[in-house]
């Protein structure tokens, strides 16, 4: 882009004319360059190694756009990669669509695109198609991103609620609530002595390794919005089973716990962006845990609970607390409001 245009995004950057092609050729293509995208065709043509294809999409409207441990660019790649990964796929290709507010700083856009490109490269997925729209000032909050992704099923990975059996173990690959509290502390302007960093990461390498070497994995899901509490309840409802988790082994970063306590939040309700809950047969739990602990994204992996036949009219998720008490775990309301004192 030339000097006149390079500071802020203008409506014309999304108008399909000269400014749009400048933006694509100077900002997008150099970062995501690959032979499929480079052809700039209306649809990306990709060859797949398997006919069992998984397809997903997600939109990202995070505020703040930049936070400790990530930004909207990284998040938009990780989110879709993880949705494919936990469904048992090896991610292959992504689309990336930007909806930018008029006046958005080009330098910020470049940082976001760099981050998305680096994350995709690290995860081994290509961004093969995309779109850019610019909306009038006030019609969006800085930038929104949508990604969609396709992946091929890992051989033998048939994951579903139906496969879950009483006695199965529930495993998590590390500390909970890090992403949500990192966002919240940045948004609320709270500084903590120990820094809180989002766990935002692409899980596909870890999940593929687990699925390729362990036959006993029944189900996986990433506990994003709604946290671990929401996913455990989805499993309990989906399979009509009870779940009992144990508070003691649930990995928690003390600074994250302190922040959550201060704002009155339950860490089980808080979002994660680099965590996966794995339901595995009792026989294979140890093997899954070993793979986790030998992987950078699973060093603090733990078995945190078990699936049981439901004894109630409606399935329940219960937690044995650290002091030996018991309480239920419910799906959170969906809007985290800090408490008063």
């Amino acid at each position: 882009m030339n000097q006149r245009e390079d500071k802020k995004i203008l409506l014309a950057h999304g108008g399909g004319g000269r400014l749009t092609s400048n933006l694509i050729s100077s900002l997008i293509l150099p970062r995501f360059d690959n032979e499929v995208l480079g052809k700039l065709t209306d649809s990306a043509a990709i060859e797949l190694s398997s006919s069992s294809v998984l397809f997903t999409t997600d939109s990202f409207v995070v505020k703040p756009l930049f936070f400790k441990g990530g930004d909207i660019g990284k998040l938009s790649v990780c989110g879709t990669v993880n949705d494919l990964a936990v469904a048992g796929a090896k991610p292959v290709a992504l689309s990336l669509s930007l909806i930018i507010e008029e006046g958005f700083e080009t330098a910020l856009l470049e940082r976001i695109l760099d981050s998305a490109a680096n994350t995709a490269a690290e995860a081994g997925v290509r961004i093969v198609t995309g779109d850019t729209k610019v909306v009038e000032k006030g019609s969006a909050d800085g930038i929104f991103i949508n990604t969609a992704g396709i992946g091929t099923r890992v051989a033998g990975a048939e994951l579903s609620f139906d496969k879950i059996t009483p006695g199965d173990c529930i495993i998590i690959n590390g500390t909970i609530g890090d992403h949500g509290m990192a966002i919240m502390s940045k948004r609320e302007g709270i500084e903590f002595e120990l820094s809180i960093e989002s766990d935002c990461a692409c899980l596909a390498d870890l999940t593929c390794k687990i699925l390729e070497s362990t036959p006993g994995v029944r189900f996986m899901r990433d506990p994003t919005r709604g946290g671990v509490a929401a996913v455990l309840n989805e499993i309990a409802e989906g399979r009509r089973c009870d779940i009992e988790i144990n508070e003691k082994p649930v990995p928690v970063n003390p600074a994250v716990k302190a922040a959550a306590d201060m704002l009155g939040f339950d860490l089980l309700d808080i979002a994660n962006e680099g965590k996966v809950l794995i339901v595995a047969s009792q026989d294979s739990a140890e093997a899954v845990l070993n793979i986790c602990r030998n992987h950078p994204l699973g060093r603090q992996g733990q078995v945190i609970g078990r699936v049981a036949e439901t004894a109630a009219e409606a399935p329940i998720v219960e937690m044995i607390t650290a002091i030996g008490g018991k309480r239920i775990v419910r799906t959170p309301y969906g809007r985290d409001l800090p408490r008063i004192c």
Partner: protein, 359 residues
């Protein structure tokens, strides 16, 4: 930890043994209520030791009339309503700040954030919804002081600040009360000091023990109460030493006294409590939202069928309310105790509900 828990439980058993009947301990503070439920403390206690959730949830004790004034102010296009998150979902007679989809409602974490909003939007009047007990009042006082010094005239507060001791006194003055002892709030006690409970102990002979919010501190606070019951004494105690002093934070109290004065305000469920609510002194009345908008706060009846008042007084447990879990849930709250994250009904619903087992 196991040893400490077992020692505490021995104390509780001894007290139950001595009393023979039920022991009712009220945890005054909403943060205690949530911690008790979240940590699954209730099911571990002796059957005869009953915990009553008290009036220490600021949102819950805020009168319906105050909520309606807040919603009325939110209708003013030239106002920005700056509020703590918990207040956003409390229903009034005409919706709530959340369901009314108002763009002029801003959730803030402190009174200072509200004051900054006023500086940023000189063309609007920022109304800070000032609720909370002794922990939040000093910050409101400081904000009013700042506004006064800097001449930030487009800032005002709708004060619903409350005091804990008058509420405890009101509860015990009710002939129907079932309270044998109080587990006193940690944070509030940092400000008022543990000796503030002296008048309750001497006048009503009820043990008052201050505890922090960690599960172990709560269990040991309950054990300390039981120790007193076994000995047949009623004293001020604290298992939160090192944090709470006898005198409390005199500086914070002095700041509050400069700007606020107590009056006989209306509390949800508890009615008018002598000297239980704080309003701005005449000298600072221009920062009082009621004064500025010429609105009168009229005590209002609770919404039909809502038993939050009885819950707050420890007279019933939330499941005894006919609306609990059917008409009133966190998704469709009727009363504030189901809305606030510190509310007893919300805590019962979220953590405490034991679903019916198949027989």
């Amino acid at each position: 930890m196991l040893n400490r828990i077992m020692t505490a439980h021995r104390q509780m058993d001894a007290a139950c043994e001595k009393v023979g009947g039920q022991i009712n301990i009220m945890e005054v503070c909403g943060t205690h209520t949530v911690s008790i439920f979240r940590n699954g403390i209730r099911p571990t206690l002796p059957r005869r030791l009953k915990l009553l959730s008290g009036p220490g949830c600021p949102v819950c004790v805020t009168d319906q009339g105050f909520i309606d004034v807040m919603l009325e102010l939110a209708q003013h296009d030239d106002c920005i309503i700056a509020t703590y998150g918990d207040m956003v979902r409390v229903p009034g007679r005409a919706g709530s700040l959340e369901t009314n989809h108002l763009s002029n409602v801003k959730v803030v974490l402190s009174s200072d954030d509200a004051l900054k909003l006023a500086e940023k939007h000189p063309d609007k009047t920022v109304v800070f919804i000032a609720v909370g007990f002794e922990t939040t009042t000093p910050a409101t006082a400081v904000a009013v002081g700042e506004a006064d010094r800097k001449g930030i005239e487009n800032f005002c507060v709708l004060s619903g600040h409350k005091l804990v001791i008058p509420a405890m006194r009101a509860l015990l003055s009710d002939a129907n009360n079932k309270i044998d002892a109080f587990l006193c709030p940690g944070h509030v006690s940092v400000i008022i000091g543990s000796e503030a409970y002296g008048e309750i102990v001497s006048e009503f002979a009820r043990p008052c023990v201050v505890a922090g919010f960690e599960p172990m501190q709560i269990i040991e606070g309950l054990a300390e109460i039981c120790r007193q019951i076994v000995r047949g004494t009623a004293q001020v105690g604290s298992v939160y030493q090192g944090v709470v002093s006898a005198a409390g934070n005199t500086t914070a109290r002095k700041i509050v006294a400069e700007y606020f004065e107590p009056y006989d305000g209306y509390w949800r469920g508890l009615g008018t409590i002598a000297g239980g609510t704080l309003r701005l002194k005449d000298k600072y009345k221009r920062f009082d939202a009621l004064e500025r908008f010429g609105i009168e706060e009229i005590p209002a009846e609770e919404l039909a069928g809502c038993l939050c008042g009885k819950v707050l007084s420890g007279l019933i447990d939330p499941p005894e309310c006919g609306m609990f879990e059917n008409k009133c849930t966190p998704d469709t709250p009727v009363g504030p105790c189901m809305v606030s994250s510190e509310g007893a009904c919300a805590a019962w619903y979220k953590y405490g509900r034991i679903r019916k087992r198949r027989s």
